[in-house]
Symmetry: C2
Subunit: 134 residues, 2 copies
DNA sequence: CTGCATGCAAAAACTTTGCACCGCC
DNA sequence: GGCGGTGCAAAGTTTTTGCATGCAG
């Protein structure tokens, strides 16, 4: 049974109002403004719990720390190869690739993870300068 | 300029002859049979170098350690949710999803990473017992 | 009060790095 | 013999965990 906690509430609210897919560290630093004594362990515990409950989504982009997304609707992400920012991609559903995969696999396909990489609009405009922030 | 090294040769050979996507740790333990004094640092350095050279492929599955694949041809992977094994998937090309993504994105899409998850044949047969090895 | 959640710190898991020595070219 | 590669160990990064205490139910 899960008990209410003000810390978890705050962590959830923070994730839900952000659109930039913060890392656990970012969540920690921001939640700290309201709970100066909160620990990184609590942040990790709650982020994992909220992801397990399906209230938020965990995104492992394979480089650096995992990120968290308050948007649990089906959608994809683009990671800018230049500045590292992670953006939402409201594209049409591509779940048909699960069927293509199923046809090539002897076991059971349950789903997929996918993300795109490229250069974001902001970096294109800036001429792809390294380390520019989006 | 890159010099020949027996250690790198051995690491490359090991990756190329395996089909099970070993981790750096697995490479280390096996290469150790031929080079008892090799260090994990050398293994990591060479795996990264070989991946940069395009001779092997690095696979970040988002859980646990990164894995390495000697098959550099375009193909996808399935990760068994039960035993954690990583298998090749020789499915038809799905690069059309890049175009779908491009249509929904203001920047430039260069490519994608994707992997499927499910239950492998071996685990299905064993009734999905946790911790069974594939 | 009972037990889940927290804060704190230590540790685990994975990877990178500094440095002196070794061995290709 | 010059310089890139190695071995070793230390440190960096990200995440998990053990334990005593705190607080919701």
């Amino acid at each position: 049974m899960i008990k209410y906690s003000r810390q978890r509430e705050c962590i959830r609210d923070f994730i839900l109002c952000r659109k930039d897919h913060p890392t656990a560290e970012t969540v920690y630093m921001n939640v700290q403004k309201l709970f100066p004594n909160i620990s990184l362990g609590t942040v990790y515990r709650n982020l994992t719990l909220l992801a397990d409950l399906g209230e938020i989504q965990k995104i492992s982009i394979g480089i650096g720390a995992d990120r968290f997304d308050g948007n649990t609707a089906p959608h994809y992400h683009v990671i800018c190869r230049n500045c590292g920012c992670v953006m939402d991609l409201e594209m049409e559903n591509i779940s048909h690739i699960n069927i293509l995969a199923e046809n090539a696999f002897e076991g059971k396909i349950e789903g997929h993870f996918a993300y795109f990489f490229g250069i974001c609009k902001s970096c294109l405009e800036k001429g792809q300068t390294k380390d520019s922030a989006c």
